[in-house]
């Protein structure tokens, strides 16, 4: 529980210190821009959550247990998606409830709930199916830890803490390839007044592009993840779990 609260709390502290800063050349408070972007980022962190749980569950035998029970793998995956989605939504609720009072120009009444809903839905499907893909390929919890490095790097070039337009063009293109940028953008479009879109690329919320990019990631994930998950669970057996346990013990010892 304390570990779960660590990241949203840290983020809120960061937003607190950003509350009076303004974006260069505008009257916009940076904090108002960062809060929605951070919500998008936490949806994207669902990727890491899924990867961590998949690798941990392979190490302690949870996945093998599911495999030994009829319809167990299906039940296991549904359970995972439900818990990770619930965790992500809880993060968002904490951030929204804690962040809104800090930033004076931010009003919960301005939120466009329909936009928020479709961004969230597409975002959850895209990030969790991508997470499941990565989780099937990464075999150790150590690998899951290493994965957080490129993800943090991606966050840095995804316009979450500062408008992406401040970056060199090639980095902007790179950032726009991945779902984190589009989640941030979608969240800003749902939570901020339309006039704010002036600081974005093309001065627009680019809803069509957001749907297309998140939709593309979701489609890739939904097609590839089941194949990889099936391959992964097919290879699971008692001796593999034992092997991994021995490797982990060796590392610790």
């Amino acid at each position: 529980m304390i570990a779960n609260l660590f990241w949203p709390t840290t983020t809120l502290v960061a937003i607190f210190f950003l509350r009076h800063r303004q974006i260069d050349g505008t009257q916009l408070p940076l904090g108002a821009l960062v809060l929605p972007g951070v919500l998008g980022m936490f949806v994207a962190l669902g990727i890491l959550l899924i990867v961590q749980q998949l690798t941990a569950d392979r190490e302690d035998g949870t996945l093998l247990r599911a495999k030994a029970i009829p319809d167990g793998i299906r039940g296991y995956l549904i359970g995972k998606l439900v818990t990770v989605s619930a965790t992500v939504l809880a993060y968002l609720a904490i951030l929204l409830a804690g962040g809104a009072p800090i930033i004076s120009s931010f009003h919960l009444g301005d939120i466009s709930w329909p936009t928020l809903t479709w961004v969230l839905l597409l975002g959850l499907v895209a990030t969790q199916s991508v997470g499941a893909m990565l989780g099937s390929l990464i075999t150790s919890s150590r690998g899951a830890g290493i994965l957080s490095v490129p993800i943090l790097a991606l966050i840095a070039i995804s316009g979450i803490f500062y408008p992406i337009t401040a970056l060199p063009t090639w980095l902007q293109w790179l950032g726009q390839t991945f779902p984190i940028y589009w989640l941030g953008l979608g969240m800003r479009s749902a939570l901020l007044p339309d006039a704010v879109s002036a600081v974005e690329i093309d001065g627009s919320w680019r809803h069509l592009e957001t749907v297309a990019m998140l939709g593309a990631w979701a489609t890739i994930g939904l097609i590839v993840a089941p194949l990889l998950l099936r391959r992964m669970s097919r290879r699971e057996s008692g001796s593999r779990v034992a092997e991994r346990r021995d490797r982990t013990l060796q590392r610790v010892g």
């Binding site: 302690d60 035998g61 247990r65 346990r245």
Partner: protein, 305 residues
Amino acid sequence: MNSELVTGGDVVLDVDGLRMRYGTRDVLHDVTFQARRGEVLALLGPNGAGKTTTIEILEGFRSRSAGRVSVLGTDPARSDERWRARVGIVLQSWRDHGKWRVRELLAHFGGYFTRYSTATIRRPMDPDQLVAAVGLTGQADQQIRTLSGGQRRRLDVAVGIVGRPELLFLDEPTVGFDPAARYEFHDLVRRLATDYQTTILLTTHDLEEADRLAHRIVILNGGRIVADGTAGELAHRIAGRDEVRWTFDGQRFTQSTEQSQSTGFVFELFRKHGHAITDLEVRRPSLEDAYLALVRQTELTRATQ
């Protein structure tokens, strides 16, 4: 099904000419054995003999290179969820679901079996009954990570039998048990076999356990089956002769005899000396003698090849 007609309805496990090859190395050569309904079969052998590979093929967790395998009338490599519901698995490496409570977990996993319940086999087992059967009533509401090693293994057994399996795989089930827990566990296994007609395939390094529990013993060494029979049969066929020991006139004697002649020999002894014979002992060769003799023998043949 077809295979049931071929093998007879009572054969639950039918392995014929099973081979397994990793790259250029054969780890199983022509493994053949059967198990009947309600039979407890112990699979013994040194580490690396191929026990785990064999069991994982039968569990449907590993594909084989060649040979015919039928488990409950179905090839495990092409099994479905209905077949999965009829098989129970207990492994030694599980450390999962630490935050769940014992009874809660059994009820949860039991739920998966409800749709596979049949008129003759009601699935799943009642969680309270199950908790009692494995002797965890006192821990029913305890978190799983707080259980001792022996309790944890008994919980694994409970999860393994929650769906009333017709066939149960037990992989070294009593490692780390204290003698009392081991005794209770053996009792549980015997009850499963007699009361529910569950067929049990057990691997163990504890020869006394195999001797006590198993109706039949299969010994695997270097990927081949080197013995298949009851503990008594194996002991006599492989380790051979009985040993008779007695004291007469303050002196200790030992005589090795053929199994069929031991009783006659002792009778003669008494007829000659009567009450003067004390400390009489007839020692039959144990499964352990047989096992060690066999493993040594195969090591020797391999060394000379």
